[in-house]
Subunit: 100 residues, 2 copies
DNA sequence: ATATAACTATCGGTTTTCCGATATTAAGGG
DNA sequence: CCCTTAATATCGGAAAACCGATAGTTATAT
């Protein structure tokens, strides 16, 4: 089956993942593979994590488990709002998808 | 309120729009502004339309109203599947968003 | 018919986003 | 302790995505 890139949501997804449960970089990569079908390369995942950390949106403990900072939670919330505004007709999209 | 780019979904959204209802470039720009908060420039919207047309995914009539081709419908369906696989926990995301 | 405005189109270039290659560090087994 | 493997990190660069500026086209009103 064809897979589509749909770039631009990597940071958003990472933040969403570790909001739900603190994760290491490797665990994040596995979760992305499950959903998107292809595993992101280390050169994708770790710079993304570094960037989020530099922005103060995520933090890591000794075991390299990442979690959101307070600022990160606010940012995620803001992202979610934009997301659901942009895809305001998700139900319609979903039913359309199932029909075929 | 902060708006986030979330790049990479322009073509997807355009195809979704004109699947629901045939639209001109200007109408598509207005719909994008409604959802995302900022109106894409002509330099964004028309090259995107040209690209989709060159790929045989959309077609236009005399009035420049765009609609999906058969191939475009298949492509949209495939995109939708990828989308809902990637965002497989939309309900959770939505309830999280509302909580705050 | 002509002026004005709105829409469409194209180009070059900038930014964003991602990845391959490579290096470094940490973990586990013998 | 050393070897192997896995995880993490960094860099340069490639590709994708987008936009500003500009120009051409069409529509509308007077």
């Amino acid at each position: 089956m064809t897979r589509h890139e749909m770039k631009g949501f990597l940071s958003f997804l990472i933040m969403w993942f570790i909001y739900k449960k603190e994760m290491t970089g490797a665990e994040i990569a596995i979760e992305l593979e499950k959903r998107k079908g292809n595993k992101p390369s280390p050169g994708t995942i770790y710079p993304a994590l570094k960037d989020l950390k530099d922005k103060g949106l995520i933090k890591d403990d000794r075991d390299k488990k990442y979690s959101l900072t307070k600022k990160g939670e606010e940012e995620l919330d803001s992202h979610l709002k934009t997301f659901f505004d942009t895809f305001c007709d998700l139900d319609e999209m979903k039913s359309c998808c199932r029909k075929k």
